[in-house]
Symmetry: C2
Subunit: 586 residues, 2 copies
């Protein structure tokens, strides 16, 4: 039910309705939008700071321009709650029963006002430039724009976009939303350059945008609706590329988000009165705490550790390292290519880089995994989080890292089944100096497990020996393997259960030994099947009589679908797996 | 035998020897180095313009700095012939019998003066920044430098590098080698920015480097040894990051290379007197000519084609399109991420993008294949060249594209076996508007084949039906499949031969049908096995009694190894495959 039937927002079915509003009404609208963002985020979690900061610019944009003919590509699109509210989707905030009906990123399936599913940063300028060029080829005249944050500007692709946008021949607007924050504090030379511009009210001689040939305009208060309306009117229908640099306040309207921007970039459900999260935290050891404790131990022991990440230290638990061991810490910005190549440079010079990457964003450093690390066979340690089936948006899926990492020559991609095994893998990866090692952090909860200290130079499978059927269960799907094993016992099948430890390397001796008294091997991996771990096993056994059945996710994008639903649709529930085993055995 | 025992270069065993040279001797040395570059390149082929242009800067660098303690990372490293000659490897140019003993890119296996195998652009600043940071952590004081061309600056990773380098706390030198060329002419806003600096002798107010916080110094003639010595002396041992912008002449000393820079960036063997290539060209239809003719036909038919590439139009045969249909052409610079996202933008706005990518460089746009194209299921056409086993340097291998493209949801990755089939695939890809389609251009010569016009929405295998053994031979390995089939006949095995057409999608009906009267399926792919096409077949047949043997290249980097040698080592010669088939059948 609509919680705020009195809101002006209810009068806006599409952006055209906004054009009748007075300035005062738009200011009222901004307050309403903020209220709704806070209400929904406090109940459900979501992006907070970026959306609170962009309210006025969004209102002004839709007041001045004519969407959907005029098109704005929102970088990352995590700041599009106001945009969605103004383009026919306010119900997703007004009505708590419909909170789930609107997805958190731009989504073409939700109507004509979103052009792409976007969730990775730094792509907007390239997309808009391609659109502008196509418009000119076809003979159109609509306004094409991109809006990109100062944090997203640290991604090289944003620069590739600027480089090409600068020389386009016709209308193209690039809004730089400068809120002086990335997810954490923003980093690098771009911070210096933008500060000079802000400090000079846009008049600094050192202007990287005009240097590249852009027309340039500055708005000192991007949270002033009238100023933004004026700026958009001045940049509408221009016949050349122009950069509109706007200074906004991330988190505006919610003081805790202004004072603690990092903690309010994205939030779990929280209490609006106290700002306290509603999700209880735990002091129990986790994969994250094991990794961070490991780094601290090594730093204290005098090792030249460099903990490297690309703009999301809090996701990895690295704030402690950042604050207390700054010389051992590097945030390269939203620049995964840089993070991996920087690690390559550091290890060559004698440091011990430990690189933290999120599975979905690591895709951007794919060439560095090969060209800079694997082809040079450099012994860095890379910790990969989020690599598993989840209920994420389709732009943030983590089901591709087995195919992404485990197929490169020289890379060893380890997947622990317990927290103690994780520690053992970290110890070995950091100690050895032969090859690059990646460690797949679990997305499911791992038990502590028994203490272990192992050399993973050559992979030796851990096998609980049965016969007839062997279950090779990788990483955090090992527990699923245990469930399947137990269920098979009820069917009088005493299956072997195997921890393969590695997504990249096989234990051929163990695999050969299984052929003696096994008919069927099943592989379980918390990733996509195609190109992944299980297909290596299938290929290995291909020329033999051993049957192999690969379990994992089919080749597909899911979008905010629950993990349970994805499991079920892919036949990954223990009972489904058992049924399939029985069926294959015939 | 040393062809030039009288050369001063013979006195240089390592860079320390250079320090005793007078300016006149260094000028003489520059002449010698140019002579050697031209002699070897005219005999063997290789990079020409970049090396001719960097001679003086390289001499000055090694005169002023102390390699290998002081370290220079050469971007792409295609300009390191002079560097190699000055660091103990002159024999690779002085002695024609030893031409093959020195590889064309930096190579740590050749001694202590090369730090990385490098062959993709734009990585040098990140590598050097990581080295500088590690040096500081460990407490060293050597000079760390990167040298990067203006063309390589268009790659976003170069900007990611600059962004982080700008805020390093100690010594770090970045040399911008501005020769006003990429491989083709350089493109984008960076061209504008550098021109302003050159035109003002480095004094333009609009300075993107000082904007980011760099110290900055300009050298108007980077081919003047004394000027370069002065500049390096002034930037040696500085305690902060500094950009040294040098203006050099690509191709200097060989007039045809100065006048026609694109054609002399990299050359085939040529006649030094006439500048004519020694490799006869052919007017016979090729995969390249089929693709370019297709585009021209469609443009002439009024279609809104956009032919997009990242800085290597001549590799794809696109100069004709560039010159004659400029509105249908886009070179985004060495910026593969941009090329793919630009195509995503263009198709959304109604154009028909045809994207040209080289397998090895496409690795840099991996995230765009997923995030921008596949997750949005956008119907672009992508033509992938170089995807196959070759004698390339290890940084330029093309054996990874089956795993890179064919595992993404929504992508259809087609591989033609004849030129007519290529045309049919292009027609269908361009006509359909449902999904992204990539087409794997052959690295081996394809026959014209019979005329074909097919819908590839659903893959239907072409099968020459035999029994017992089925050979599924993908793309340009189809001819290998024919050879194997013929040899098997001599062994009284009447094998089926199958053109699977797609590296991504299987024809399950055809595969199921084979189980009736086949024991073994072999897959042949001109790519790495791991993560590739054949493992999909192995996985498909896993739960059945059908045996499968995958043929392709093992997981490995090869470095300037001949194709024939790689084939043999991987058991890919027809006789080897037949032996393996017989062995598996038992």
């Amino acid at each position: 039910m609509n919680k705020h039937p009195e809101f002006l927002l209810n009068k806006i079915g599409n952006p055209q309705d906004l054009k009748k509003f007075s300035l005062d009404e738009m200011k009222k609208l901004a307050e309403e939008i903020r209220t709704l963002i806070l209400e929904k985020d406090s109940a459900e979690g979501g992006h907070l700071g970026p959306d609170l900061g962009i309210v006025e610019a969004t209102i002004a944009y839709h007041y001045v321009f004519n969407a959907p003919e005029d098109k704005m590509v929102w970088d990352v699109s995590h700041q599009t709650y106001p945009h969605k509210m103004l383009t026919g989707r306010a119900y997703g905030w007004l009505d708590p029963d419909r909170y789930e009906d609107v997805t958190p990123y731009t989504n073409p399936d939700e109507g004509p006002y979103d052009y792409y599913a976007v969730g990775h940063t730094s792509t907007s300028i390239a997309l808009a430039t391609g659109m502008a060029r196509a418009r000119d080829l076809i003979g159109g005249h609509e306004n094409i724009a991109a809006l990109i944050g100062d944090g997203s500007l640290t991604g090289g692709m944003a620069f590739e976009g600027l480089n090409n946008a600068a020389v386009e021949k016709h209308n193209l607007l690039i809004v730089i939303n400068d809120n002086q924050m990335s997810i954490d504090e923003n980093v690098g030379g771009v911070v210096t350059a933008l500060k000079k511009l802000r400090d000079s009210n846009g008049k600094a001689a050192d202007n990287p945008f005009t240097a590249m040939g852009f027309d340039y305009r500055y708005v000192a208060d991007g949270n002033d609706i009238q100023a933004m309306i004026d700026a958009f009117k001045a940049t509408k229908d221009v016949d050349h590329p122009i950069v509109l640099h706007i200074n906004t306040l991330k988190g505006k309207g919610y003081q805790p988000a202004v004072e603690h921007e990092r903690e309010h970039h994205w939030v779990l459900p929280f209490d609006l009165k106290t700002d306290k999260t509603k999700i209880p935290s735990s002091d129990a050891p986790s994969a994250k705490s094991v990794a961070v404790d490991f780094i601290k131990d090594k730093i204290k022991a005098g090792e030249n550790i460099l903990a490297i990440n690309a703009a999301i230290p809090s996701v990895f638990g690295l704030i402690d390292i950042k604050d207390n061991y700054p010389e051992h810490y590097k945030d390269v910005g939203i620049a995964e290519q840089e993070s991996v190549a920087f690690a390559a440079g550091a290890v060559k010079e004698g440091a011990k880089p430990i690189l933290f990457e999120n599975s979905t964003f690591l895709q951007r450093a794919y060439d560095q995994l090969s060209h800079d690390i694997a082809a040079n066979d450099l012994p860095i340690t890379m910790i990969v989080t989020g690599g598993g089936i989840s209920g994420q948006s389709k732009t943030h899926l983590g089901i591709f890292d087995n195919m992404m990492i485990a197929n490169w020559p020289n890379w060893q991609y380890l997947a622990p089944t317990t927290l103690n095994e994780l520690r053992s893998m970290l110890e070995w990866a950091n100690k050895q100096d032969k090859h690059p090692v990646a460690i797949k952090m679990p997305v499911l909860k791992l038990p502590m497990g028994k203490e272990v200290s192992e050399d993973y130079s050559t992979i030796h499978y851990d096998i609980e020996r049965g016969s007839k059927v062997a279950i090779i269960a990788l990483g955090d799907f090992y527990h699923l393997g245990e469930q399947v094993r137990d269920l098979l016992k009820d069917k009088d099948i005493n299956a072997s259960l195997i921890n393969p430890k590695s997504a990249s390397d096989l234990d051929s001796e163990a695999l050969d030994d299984l052929t003696k008294d096994h008919e069927l091997v099943i592989t379980l991996e918390d990733n996509q099947i195609s190109g992944g771990f299980g297909q290596k096993i299938a290929s290995y056994y291909g020329p033999t009589k051993m049957m192999v059945k690969n379990f994992g996710e089919k080749k597909e994008y899911t979008d905010n679908e629950s993990r349970e639903s994805i499991y079920k649709r892919n036949g990954l529930l223990p009972e489904q797996i058992v049924d399939e085993v029985i069926s294959v055995l015939g």
